[in-house]
């Protein structure tokens, strides 16, 4: 077991796009019950029927963020990623703390969590080989959209980010793997700062797929969203005088295979939490907020709550972002982090600690420890 302390990552800016709206501020309002997330399936481009309930990003107008030129063939996954990247790197028009556009863009990397890329783009492309007059009469201009790293590649192209460019698939743990991968890339000297997070688009293919598997509570919405965080080594940020909104402490994962094997899921998650708190130098009693990730997932929800009770106690406040954004699979962890930052905008003493957890139907368990630094670093 590795129990050495991790080097904290400073979050210096964020770009968040959710069914609550564009920017973290809209998520603050939605979590506080002051605004509603979009639940109208008619707002999704396309003619297909969606299985309700859903949550989706209304008015995703890519051209308003990046200009019209060159956007014609970009898909929704890429659009969600591009808008989020602009918010993180150039600031939010609604007045959120701005990133530093003059920062070292060429020395910035991208690490994006994904399930399998844009399943609409891939599914429609595969379908075209079956329904067109000839199987090869597919649209070459949309072929790059079928490749899973399309979103990360476009984020690099549109922002001139020439560092490490990774797309990570870890199921429900994808966004946590983005944190682990990004931290290693920085510690290993491969890159100075990283834009990391997760993206998931709502599409008929994914929505009907979720309903077919019955893995998700039928009352709970299937959603979409993207959250990207500009991070760098916390000591480096402090030395350069760049203020941080939060620090990402330890992030631990386990993937021993199927849910029905031993040890039980609650045990797996509890073990990662214990290890993560130790590597973060945080006592269980210091955790004042838990953002669970398995909410609504058959069988896993209860296991997650057991693990939380065992490690940080039953009385710790919980923040359920899925109530607002819906089930967002590989983006869940990033959206849990966005929700914690949103919550801390109104409730946080500096130094508050949050625990984010995740469990997946593939048997994986993981967690991320986050500390609020607002007010202390500036």
């Amino acid at each position: 077991m590795t129990t050495t302390a991790v080097r904290p990552l400073a979050v210096t800016a964020e770009g968040v796009v959710t069914p609550a709206g564009i920017g973290l501020g809209t998520l603050v309002d939605a979590l506080a019950g002051r605004a509603a997330a979009c639940a109208d399936p008619q707002q999704l481009p396309g003619q297909e029927v969606l299985p309700e309930p859903v949550r989706l990003v209304e008015d995703l107008r890519l051209a308003e963020h990046v200009g019209r030129k060159g956007t014609r063939y970009l898909d929704r996954t890429t659009a969600l990623g591009l808008v989020s990247s602009r918010l993180a790197l150039r600031g939010d028009p609604s007045g959120d703390p701005a990133g530093d556009p003059a920062g070292d863009l060429a020395g910035t990397g991208v690490v994006v969590g994904t399930s399998a890329g844009s399943l609409r783009s891939i599914g429609e492309f595969a379908r075209d080989t079956l329904v067109r007059d000839e199987p090869y009469l597919v649209d070459a201009a949309t072929f790059p959209n079928t490749v899973m790293n399309c979103c990360a590649g476009q984020i690099a192209i549109w922002n001139g980010l020439r560092g490490v460019n990774a797309t990570v698939a870890g199921g429900q743990l994808s966004s946590f793997h983005a944190v682990r991968y990004g931290r290693n890339a920085i510690n290993a000297g491969q890159v100075g700062r990283v834009l990391l997070g997760g993206v998931e688009e709502l599409c008929p293919q994914t929505a009907w797929g979720w309903r077919a598997t019955r893995l998700l509570d039928p009352q709970l919405p299937i959603g979409e969203g993207c959250a990207l965080f500009l991070v760098e080594d916390a000591q480096a940020a402090a030395a350069a005088g760049r203020p941080a909104v939060a620090e990402l402490l330890a992030c631990e994962v386990e993937s021993p295979g199927p849910v029905d094997a031993r040890p039980p899921m609650a045990h797996r998650l509890a073990r990662t939490v214990t290890r993560a708190l130790e590597r973060s130098g945080v006592r269980p009693g210091e955790v004042s907020l838990v953002a669970p990730g398995a909410t609504g997932l058959a069988g896993l929800d209860a296991a997650e709550q057991r693990a939380i009770r065992r490690t940080v106690g039953a009385d710790t406040a919980q923040l359920r972002v899925k109530d607002v954004v819906g089930e967002c699979f590989s983006a869940n962890g990033a959206l849990q982090l966005a929700a914690v930052l949103a919550h801390w905008r109104t409730h946080a003493p500096s130094g508050a600690v949050a625990l984010l957890t995740a469990l997946g139907p593939d048997g994986s368990a993981g967690c991320l420890v986050v500390r609020s630094t607002t007010g202390s670093a500036s």
């Binding site: 399930s115 890329g117 080989t129 597919v138 790059p144 590649g153 690099a156 560092g163 797309t167 593939d362």
Partner: protein, 406 residues
């Protein structure tokens, strides 16, 4: 912690054979594994060849990961991982001594479970999206590939699938090596997997990237790639642990470099690739003069080969080491490609040979003079340091450096 990392096990499931020995023998002989496609109905396709694994019987290698619950890419990955661990001499007793939480997998892929997606697309056409088979849907996430490896081998640490397209295995190797180097893990199984499938074949044809008959990297008449499939896995562990258990060491993982052109999704950029080579050299603590062999990305498209050689010349000047492409034999195994490259580099270092470029008739004069592409069959050579290239959609470049343990 800064531990030396070595490769002690190699596993391959490829069109040129099952197992690293079979693959290496075929590569040395310059055999070509590509041929007529049997995995999907090619009716209506002008080009009908690819590099398929025809004699893959998952049940012969896998006990927990079964075709009923896992897609083809996961099966290929898990089978390659089983072979790699066996090759590393890690029997069950050794595994029992290993802390399972300190062992995991990082696997690269371009298209994940693409054959599963093809089948779901057919269900969509046949009965609508409401008719999707839940068992197939559950196989779609790309993460399944690494989870399959952990499941089959009983590993409990990281299971991460890196979906960085055709540079993915090198990304996986670099990350896995860092996890071992820094003490996060004591054993990582790293590599990649992809499956030949209908929609990628259509897409590459439509892009104009496919060749009709054989893949001829560096040849004056090269036309493009052949899509291919396979699973490949390398066992990475700390040098000290490998020594302590008396393991055979194929090579030391010396370092890697990553970069992103940030210019175009499909056109490579020579200056950016040259920068990636230099950063890989820096990371590995070597200079260009140390490199004895370059395992090229070498797709056989007109654009890749001319760009790649230009980048190599920019770094190496007049002293370009022998450079060859195993894609001439395997085809383009996509996310597994740089993993196969790494495997072949390990064997080149360990066994002492330069892997060849097959199907090469006349080197393209546009690539410049005195380019040793090792045409035909392998040549005996002392390879101390090998440089393994992987480039990808999205302008991604990833280069790994492997060397003889000194």
């Amino acid at each position: 912690m800064n531990r030396r990392v070595v490769v002690t096990g190699l596993g391959a499931v490829s069109s040129l054979g099952i197992g690293a020995d079979a693959l290496t023998a075929a590569i040395r002989a310059g055999q070509v594994g590509t041929g007529p496609i049997t995995g999907f109905d090619t009716t209506g396709f002008p080009y009908v060849r690819a590099g398929e694994v025809r004699d893959f019987d998952p049940a012969a290698l896998l006990r927990r990961v079964t075709p009923q619950r896992w897609g083809r890419s996961s099966l290929l990955a898990a089978a390659a991982a089983v072979l790699a661990v066996r090759d590393a001499g890690l029997d069950r007793a050794d595994q029992a001594r290993l802390d399972r939480l300190r062992a995991g997998s990082v696997m690269g892929t371009t298209s994940g479970e693409s054959q599963v997606v093809d089948r779901l697309a057919a269900e969509w056409v046949g009965g609508g999206l409401k008719s999707l088979d839940p068992d197939l849907v559950a196989q779609v996430p790309a993460s399944q590939i690494a989870v399959a490896v952990n499941t089959e081998l009983g590993l409990a640490g990281d299971a991460l699938t890196l979906s960085t397209a055709c540079a993915a295995s090198n990304y996986a190797l670099g990350y896995g090596a860092d996890l071992v180097r820094t003490g996060e893990a004591d054993l990582m199984v790293c590599g990649g997997a992809d499956s030949v499938n209908r929609y990628n074949h259509a897409g590459f044809y439509r892009l104009g990237a496919l060749t009709e008959e054989v893949c001829r990297p560096f040849d004056a008449e090269r036309q493009g790639i052949l899509t291919a499939e396979g699973g490949v896995a390398l066992v990475l562990e700390p040098y000290d642990r490998a020594l302590a258990r008396g393991a055979r060491v194929y090579a030391e993982f010396l370092g890697y470099g990553l970069s992103c052109d940030a210019k175009h999704m499909v056109h490579p950029d020579a200056a950016s690739i040259a920068g990636c080579v230099r950063s890989a050299h820096r990371n590995a603590g070597i200079t260009p003069a140390d490199v004895d062999y370059i395992c090229a990305h070498g797709t056989g498209t007109p654009t890749n080969d001319v760009t790649e050689v230009a980048a190599v010349r920019e770094v190496f000047g007049d002293r370009v080491p022998p450079i060859s492409s195993i894609k001439s034999m395997l085809g383009h195994t996509m996310g597994a490609a740089s993993g196969f490259g790494a495997l072949v580099c390990c064997r080149a270092i360990h066994d002492g040979f330069l892997p060849p470029t097959a199907n090469l008739r006349a080197v393209d004069p546009a690539l410049g003079p005195d380019l040793d592409c090792v045409p035909g069959t392998a040549r005996p050579a002392d390879v101390r340091i090998a440089e393994n290239h992987g480039f990808a959609f999205g302008g991604n470049n990833a280069i790994t450096i492997l060397g003889k343990v000194a």
